[in-house]
Amino acid sequence: MCQVGEDYAEPASEEPPPRQPGREQKCVKCKEGLPVVVIRAGDAFCRDCFKAFYIHKFRAVLGKNRLIFPGEKVLLAWSGGPSSSSMVWQVLEGLSRESAKRLRFVPGIVCIDEGAACGLSPEARAKTLAEMKLILQTVGFPWHVVALEEVFDLPPSVLRCFAQEPVETEGAYKAAVDSFLQQQHVLGAEGAGDSPSLAQGEEQLSWPCTQDPQNPQSPDRPPTAAQTEALSRLFDSVKTLTAKEELLQALRTHLILHVARTHGYSKVMTGDSCTRLAIKLMTSLALGRGAFLAWDTGFSDERHGDVVVVRPMREHTLKEVAFYNHLFAVPSVFTPALDTKAPEKASIHRLMEAFMLRLQDQFPSTVSTVYRTSEKLVKAPRHGCAASPPGPRCLLCMCALDIDTAGAALLSQGGPPSLRHRAAVLRLPREHEGLALRGPPATLHLGRGPAPQPELLPQGLHRAADPGVPG
């Protein structure tokens, strides 16, 4: 009933209850081990098979899309939460020498301290920071901890969209892999001591294991009180929690991209899981971002030009992530966010999250259905609409504006808000002005603001003798 093309039993019907992994049930994969976790609709996995399944998914997503070139510098955006911690852990394990088919890129970690936006005290922030540094040192990649206050120091160039790089073709990827392998082979033949470090053969980047992983350029000083004050003022001036969350996301994205550009990273990996992406998709729909869903929730997001954001965790559900972290002791740090402890109706994001998770209880395929729909979205203007050259871009999210005057005829009544738009003026054709009852007036303005005032026609109500509507 829920899903097109599928029949679903009513929840209260006599469907056989999902079988608990009991003594007699074995792992569905290896048929030998005792299962420890049930994934999807009743697939029980034992510990080893689950680990293999999880890692395989991560590699498959990366390999299928062929966007990460060997030797490339990739920045991992780590928030401390379970999904991004899991991602960092996967990268760590994938780069180690023991793993089959090592990953071949050069990682760094960035962590944004958003305490000021969430209203945390400096002591709480320092404590969280200390915990994070502990984990970062264990992981061992070069790391950068940036406070959100530094967004005030960003140069205006972050808002300019850089020229798009040409799309890499299949041949280019293969060629890059081949050349990388050749270099490896050459270096190995030269007989240098095998250091366990990463990116052998990458000429501009080599760090022997003795180097202090902390990047010497990232300042270790806490932000000034004035900056913190300015940031809290900024967030207090935003009235609704929905808008605050959107603002925070925009600022965070710009900051991460700035760090990536400054330190020469060409890719950024974020830890959005399948569940989070499904919720994000529905939230974006409700916020009016239907035109940009492919960028917001797809695997790769190239709207910033030189730095590409990828989402390798997009096929892992939150349940899988949670179980993996628990079973294999992946360290993570809890940081309160803007909507921690917020009531369910406080923002669109919270509403959607609660709704999706509740619906998922009843119809277990909800999240995967929404995810599959998101895979069918493409990064293009809608078929038949706006074949014009790319127009101006939004300042905050760098997407092409989705207001066009042709379609705007319908949206004149309290039209949809967008972050930045020009007020488009729509004129009624002259032949219809006589048809107006008491309005609409000859000009209508899109966007927020009071509805246009209907004016009384001085000559009263009469029907203009026009030949008729063309077309």
């Binding site: 309290g414 009071p450 029907r463 077309g471």
Partner: protein, 424 residues
């Protein structure tokens, strides 16, 4: 909010509880305050009354009642402002989207002007059109018919009322009585088309009986929606209409978008949005003039114009999946009032992969109507019903539907099943 669980199975909130104005309210002076809320009327059966007070239903009532922006009668702390348009009468409400304070008459005029603008700017109903109004007796179609009647001289169109009798006992007969009263009051010709006549004796009650008891949901709305669109088309042809209009409002469109996303119906998402269908392949062009009006404004218009309509929910409504979407939409609207229009805006600009789009439609081999496959969906559903396998055309498996092939109990195929009739 309590989650929709319980012995009733999937519970969906009722259709928005509208104000049932009727003749007895005619004596009130304009602009005076009316007590809002679901007024019990004598026509309700006890079973409906029980269903009315399911928890979600009441929550939706309360949300609507609290959110209707009627200004209080007199409040010494804050005297009601003047109407922003005529500056003469005291303002009776604030418009939900713009926040302007208007008196009743000016609000109705603004509402009519906006509908006129929608029709004119989208070139939906050219002069000389014979327009069949799908009249169900509910608030949307009542308001639609009334507004179109007011605008008919200016647009140069003539109206016909077409009502569809699905054969749902205890619901549709009462609604039809309301439609007949309206037709008499407006002096518009009314045609009633019944499922029983068109579809070989299959009323919705018979369909529900046929699909019940298989351990699955009855999917009544699937049958009813497809068959009703066919019935509307037939009725419109009977009266010689050139266009069909239905009373879908902005909230309906937003719910449809949410529902299609949650169900993963990429074909409908690709087809939806926009103004309606232009009438390809011999089907009559359809449109929805109230598409940009929010549900609250429709209710307010009916209130100020004292329209008589039928405000019960369908007997099968609590099972519908749309109930979830409706509940979510009410919450979203409370959090951010522009969410409704934002959803419609999003849906219009969705970019789906070409593979996900529905194929270009052809003609049904049995009835000649618009169809994506050999059989249109209405014929396919009826086929399944007649063969005693009502779920034949629903879901993945559409085998055995081709007329040549005998009915088989094969494995359902994995192909997605876009619906054939261009449903909204």
């Amino acid at each position: 909010m309590t989650s929709p669980r319980g012995s009733q199975g999937v519970v969906g909130p009722a259709r928005t509880r509208a104000l049932s104005t009727s003749g007895r309210a005619a004596a009130q002076a304009p602009g005076s305050r009316r007590r809002l809320g679901p007024e019990p009327s004598g026509s309700r059966s006890p079973s409906t009354r029980f269903r009315l007070f399911s928890s979600l239903d009441r929550a939706a009532c309360v949300l609507l009642r609290r959110s209707l922006p009627l200004l209080p009668r007199s409040d010494p702390a804050m005297p009601a402002p003047q109407c922003a348009t005529c500056h003469k009468a005291r303002a009776a409400l604030r418009r939900p989207r713009s926040g302007r304070a208007l008196c009743g008459a000016c609000f109705c005029a603004a509402f009519e002007a906006e509908v006129l603008h929608t029709v004119v700017a989208g070139r939906l109903l050219p002069p000389g059109a014979v327009v069949a109004v799908g009249a169900s007796g509910g608030k949307d179609s009542t308001v639609l018919a009334h507004v179109l009647q007011v605008l008919a001289p200016r647009l140069g169109i003539s109206l016909r009322l077409v009502a569809v009798d699905e054969g749902i006992g205890g619901y549709r007969d009462a609604a039809l009585a309301a439609v007949r009263r309206q037709a008499a009051r407006w002096e518009l010709p009314l045609t009633v088309v019944a499922y029983a006549d068109l579809f070989g004796g299959w009323t919705m009650d018979a369909v529900a009986r046929s699909t019940a008891g298989s351990g699955r949901s009855r999917a009544c709305c699937t049958f009813c929606g497809v068959l009703r669109r066919r019935a509307l088309e037939e009725g419109a042809r009977l009266v010689g209409a050139t266009h069909i209009v239905t009373g879908h409002n902005a909230d309906d469109m937003a719910e449809t978008v949410l529902m299609n996303f949650l169900r993963g119906d990429a074909a409908r998402l690709a087809r939806g949005g926009g103004l309606g269908s232009p009438g390809e392949g011999g089907a009559l062009p359809r449109c929805r003039p109230l598409q940009l009006a929010s549900q609250k404004e429709v209710v307010l218009y009916a209130h100020f114009r004292r329209l008589d309509y039928f405000s019960e929910e369908c007997v099968y409504a609590p099972e519908a999946f749309r109930g979830h979407a409706r509940h979510l939409l009410k919450l979203l609207e409370a959090a951010r009032p522009s969410a409704v229009l934002d959803l419609v805006h999003s849906a219009e600009r969705l970019a789906l992969a070409p593979a996900a789009r529905p194929p270009a439609p052809g003609a049904c081999s049995r009835c000649g109507a618009l169809a994506s496959r050999a059989l249109c969906q209405a014929c396919a559903l009826l086929d399944g019903l007649n063969r005693g396998r009502p779920r034949l055309a629903i879901g993945k498996g559409r085998r055995g539907l081709d007329e040549a092939g005998p009915p088989r109990d094969g494995e359902p195929e994995r192909a997605p099943a876009p619906e054939a009739v261009p449903a909204f």
